[in-house]
C-alpha cells in the first residue's frame, strides 16, 4: 500500500513538473490572440427559456442593411426568413416590400440573358460582390466574410475550468459576445505598437492585433425610430443579436422543445425507476 502511494506521488510530481512550464508560457514573449477576451453581455436568447427580442432583431436587421451589407453577405438567409415568428417577425406585407427593395439577378430569360428584377420573399439576400475575388480586390486584399453563420463560427477559448462550467450554465453566447466586443473594441494602438498599413487596431480580434475592417459603427449613423439609444454599443448589441438569429434561426423552438422533452424524460425516468424497484422487490440484488 505504501509503495502505491509512493508511485502515485512520484507520478503526480513528474506530471506537475512537466506541466508547470506550459502555464509559465502563457505570460511569455509571444502574444496570444485575442489580446482581450470578449466581454460577457446579457442576451435575451441566453439560458433555457431564451427568446429573441423581436424589436432588437428588427433594429439589428436595420444595422445589417444600412452598414454591414455594403461589404458582407448573408447568403444562407432568404427574405421570407424576416417574417419568422420568434425571429424579426416582420408582417407579410413588410417582407414583400423589404424584398422588393433589393435587386436580384435572375435568368436566363427567353433571349438567353441574365436580368435584374426586384426581390421576392423566396429569394436569398444578394451578395454585395459578385465573387470572393471581387470582394477581396475592393477591400485591400481581405474579402469580407459571409455573416450568416458568424455567431457560431467564432469562439474564444475560455480554458478548462470555464469549459466545464459552461456545460452546466448553458453558455452558448460566445459568438455574439465576440461580435459585440469586436465592434465596440476599435481603438488607437498603444504606444510602441505598430500595426500593418490598412489595418485597424482591435484587441478583441481573434487572429491578430489588428484587422482589415475599418471601425464600421459610429454614434448616430443609423436612425432608430423606436427611441432606442443610437450608440455604437447599442448598435453592436443589436446586430450581434441579429446575427445570432441568422446563425440559429430555430433557437427559440429548440429551447422550448428541449424543456418539454426534458420534463417528459424526468417524469418517464422516475416512473421507470419506480417500476424497476417494484419488479426487483422480491429479488435480493
Amino acid at each position: 500500500m505504501i509503495s502505491m502511494k509512493l508511485v502515485a506521488a512520484l507520478f503526480a510530481a513528474a506530471f506537475s513538473f512537466a506541466v508547470a512550464p506550459a502555464f509559465a508560457d502563457e505570460g511569455g514573449a509571444l502574444p496570444s490572440y485575442p489580446l482581450k477576451k470578449p466581454e460577457l453581455e446579457k442576451w435575451s436568447f441566453a439560458g433555457p427559456f431564451g427568446k429573441f427580442d423581436t424589436a432588437q432583431l428588427q433594429r439589428g436587421y436595420q444595422i445589417y442593411k444600412e452598414v454591414c451589407s455594403n461589404c458582407h453577405s448573408i447568403k444562407y438567409m432568404t427574405f421570407r426568413n424576416l417574417g419568422q415568428e420568434g425571429g424579426p417577425h416582420f408582417t407579410p406585407d413588410q417582407v414583400v416590400s423589404l424584398a422588393a427593395g433589393y435587386q436580384v439577378s435572375d435568368g436566363p430569360n427567353d433571349a438567353g440573358d441574365m436580368f435584374q428584377r426586384p426581390g421576392k420573399p423566396s429569394d436569398h439576400f444578394p451578395a454585395p460582390f459578385p465573387n470572393v475575388e471581387a470582394a477581396a480586390a475592393a477591400n485591400g486584399g481581405a474579402a469580407p466574410p459571409d455573416l450568416s453563420l458568424m455567431a457560431k463560427a467564432r469562439g474564444v477559448e475560455r480554458g478548462l475550468f470555464w469549459a466545464i462550467v459552461d456545460f452546466f450554465t448553458q453558455y452558448q453566447e460566445g459568438g455574439p459576445d465576440y461580435i459585440h466586443s469586436l465592434l465596440t473594441g476599435f481603438q488607437d494602438p498603444p504606444a510602441g505598437v505598430t500595426i500593418p498599413d490598412g489595418t485597424y487596431y482591435n484587441p478583441y480580434f481573434m487572429n491578430a492585433a489588428s484587422l482589415h475592417m475599418p471601425p464600421p459603427l459610429k454614434d448616430d449613423i443609423v436612425t432608430y425610430t423606436d427611441g432606442t439609444p443610437q450608440t455604437v454599443d447599442q448598435y453592436a448589441r443589436d446586430v450581434a443579436a441579429f446575427l445570432m438569429w441568422t446563425a440559429e434561426p430555430h433557437l427559440v423552438e429548440r429551447k422550448r422543445m428541449g424543456f418539454e422533452v426534458i420534463v417528459f424524460l424526468v417524469v418517464f425516468a422516475g416512473l421507470m425507476f419506480l417500476t424497476k424497484r417494484k419488479v426487483w422487490e422480491k429479488v435480493a440484488h
Partner: protein, 411 residues
C-alpha cells in the same frame, strides 16, 4: 442463443411459423429467458445504451442523407438547408452530431467497465476483441462523418489524418493519393467518405450481432467476477434487466437532450461553421473530443512514422489485455492494487485528452510524452506485474452469497 429454449408458442400462426423458422424461440431465449446474473450494477446499462445509440445514429443518419449533397461546392449549403429549411432538420442534425459524442462517451464507460471488472478474461476474450473492432469501426465512421459538412475543421482534419499514411515507407505517398482520389483532399475524397460513412455503421451493426452472440455463449460477467454457479445466481433478462435498461437509458437520454436542445454546439468547433478553404489553415487543428487522447499520443512523438505506429498501437494494445493481465481474479473489487492503477489509468486518459486539445508546444509536449509512456506502461508493465505480485482479497463462493452478505451488512 444460450440458455433454456423452452419457448412454446400458443398462437397457431406463431406455431406454424416457429416450426419453419424458429426465430421467435431464438429471440425468447436471447432476450427474455436469457439467464443474467442478479447482481449487475448500473455500469452494465451501457450495452443497452450503446445499442440504442447505434440505432438512433443510423435512423437520424439515413434521414439526413436524404437531404445532404456530397459535393465539395454544395455540402455546406445542403447542411445549412437541413438546419434552416428541412422540417426539424436542425433537430436531426443536432441529434446526429451530439449522438456521435454520446455514443463515444458510452463506449468509453463500457470499455472502462470491462477493464475494471475484468470482463475480458477467459472465456470472454473473443467478446473483448469484437468490442475493440467495433470501437475501431466507430472511430473510422465518426472521422468520416465529421468531414461531411465540409467546414474548415472537416477539411483540415481530413488532411491531417489522411497525411498520416504518407509516413508509411516507400508506398506511403501512393497510398495517400489513392485514398484521396487525387493529389489533395478534394471532391473525390468527400464522395468516398460519404459512401463509407454510410456503409460502416451497418458493418458495426453486424459486429455488434457477433459481440452479443459471443456474450451469450458464456453469459454476462458480474461485479464479483465469480462465475454463475446455479440458477439461483441468475434472473431472466426480462423483466429484470429490460426494465433496468429502460430506466438507465432514460437517465442517459436526459443528458442527451440537454446537449441537443440547450448546448448543441458545446462539443463542436466554431471553425467548422466556416466553409472549407484549402488556402487557409486554421490556427489549431483538433479532432473531436473523443479522439483527443489518441491525438495527444500521435503528437507526443517527434518522428512521424513512430507517432503513427504509436497511435495505432494505443488502440491495438487493448486487444491483448486478456493475455497481458496475469491475475486469476477478474473483478477489481477484490484487487486492491490493480484498483488504484485503474483509476490512475483513467486520470492518464483524461490528461491525454486535455493535452490533445492544447497546442503541441513547450510543457504540453513533455507532459504528453510522460503520459504516453505511462499509457503503454499500464498495459505492458503494470497489468502483467500487478497480476503476479498482488494478493487479492478472498472471493465470495457465489454471486448469491455475495449479494446476501452485502444486504446483511446494509441492514
Amino acid at each position: 442463443m444460450s440458455g433454456t429454449s423452452t419457448y412454446q408458442p400458443k398462437n397457431p400462426v406463431a406455431k406454424w411459423f416457429e416450426a419453419r423458422l424458429p426465430i421467435l424461440g431464438f429471440a425468447h431465449s436471447s432476450f427474455v429467458a436469457y439467464p443474467t446474473p442478479r447482481n449487475l450494477n448500473y455500469w452494465w446499462n451501457f450495452g443497452a445504451i450503446l445499442t440504442f445509440m447505434l440505432v438512433a445514429q443510423i435512423v437520424t443518419g439515413i434521414i439526413l442523407a436524404m437531404h445532404y449533397t456530397p459535393n465539395a461546392d454544395l455540402a455546406m449549403n445542403s447542411v445549412e438547408s437541413i438546419m434552416r429549411d428541412v422540417n426539424y432538420g436542425w433537430l436531426l442534425r443536432y441529434l446526429h452530431s451530439n449522438g456521435a459524442s454520446l455514443f463515444f462517451f458510452a463506449v468509453y464507460v463500457h470499455i472502462l467497465r470491462g477493464m475494471y471488472y475484468g470482463s475480458y478474461k477467459e472465456p470472454r476474450e473473443v467478446l473483448w476483441i469484437l468490442g475493440l473492432i467495433i470501437f475501431l469501426l466507430m472511430i473510422m465512421t465518426a472521422f468520416m462523418g465529421y468531414v461531411l459538412p465540409w467546414g474548415q475543421m472537416s477539411f483540415w482534419g481530413a488532411t491531417v489524418i489522411t497525411n498520416l499514411f504518407t509516413a508509411i515507407p516507400l508506398v506511403g505517398n501512393s497510398i495517400t493519393t489513392w485514398l484521396w482520389g487525387g493529389f489533395s483532399v478534394d471532391n473525390p475524397t468527400l464522395n468516398r467518405f460519404f459512401s463509407l460513412h454510410y456503409l460502416l455503421p451497418f458493418m458495426i451493426a453486424g459486429v455488434v450481432g457477433l459481440h452479443i452472440w459471443a456474450l451469450h455463449i458464456p453469459g454476462n460477467g458480474n461485479p464479483t467476477g465469480v462465475d454463475v454457479k446455479s440458477s439461483q445466481d441468475t434472473v431472466p433478462f426480462h423483466p429484470y434487466y429490460t426494465i433496468k435498461d429502460v430506466f438507465g437509458l432514460s437517465v442517459f437520454l436526459i443528458l442527451f437532450a440537454w446537449l441537443v436542445f440547450y448546448v448543441p454546439n458545446y462539443l463542436g468547433e466554431p471553425d467548422n461553421y466556416i466553409a472549407a478553404n484549402p488556402l487557409q489553415t486554421p490556427a489549431h487543428i483538433v479532432p473531436e473530443w473523443y479522439l483527443l487522447p489518441f491525438y495527444a499520443i500521435l503528437r507526443a512523438i517527434p518522428n512521424k512514422l513512430i507517432g503513427v505506429i504509436a497511435l495505432f498501437s494505443a488502440i491495438a494494445v487493448v486487444a491483448f489485455v486478456p493475455w497481458l493481465d496475469t491475475s486469476r481474479v477478474r473483478s477489481a473489487t477484490f484487487r486492491p492494487i490493480y484498483r488504484q492503477f485503474f483509476w490512475i489509468f483513467v486520470a492518464v486518459g483524461l490528461g491525454l485528452g486535455y493535452l490533445g486539445s492544447q497546442p503541441p508546444e513547450g510543457g504540453y509536449v513533455i507532459a504528453a510524452r510522460i503520459l504516453t509512456v505511462y499509457y503503454f506502461a499500464h498495459f505492458l508493465i503494470v497489468l502483467p506485474l500487478v497480476g503476479l505480485l498482488e494478493r487479492p482479497k478472498p472471493l465470495p463462493s457465489s454471486i448469491t452469497e455475495a449479494v446476501l452478505a452485502r444486504n446483511a451488512a446494509k441492514a
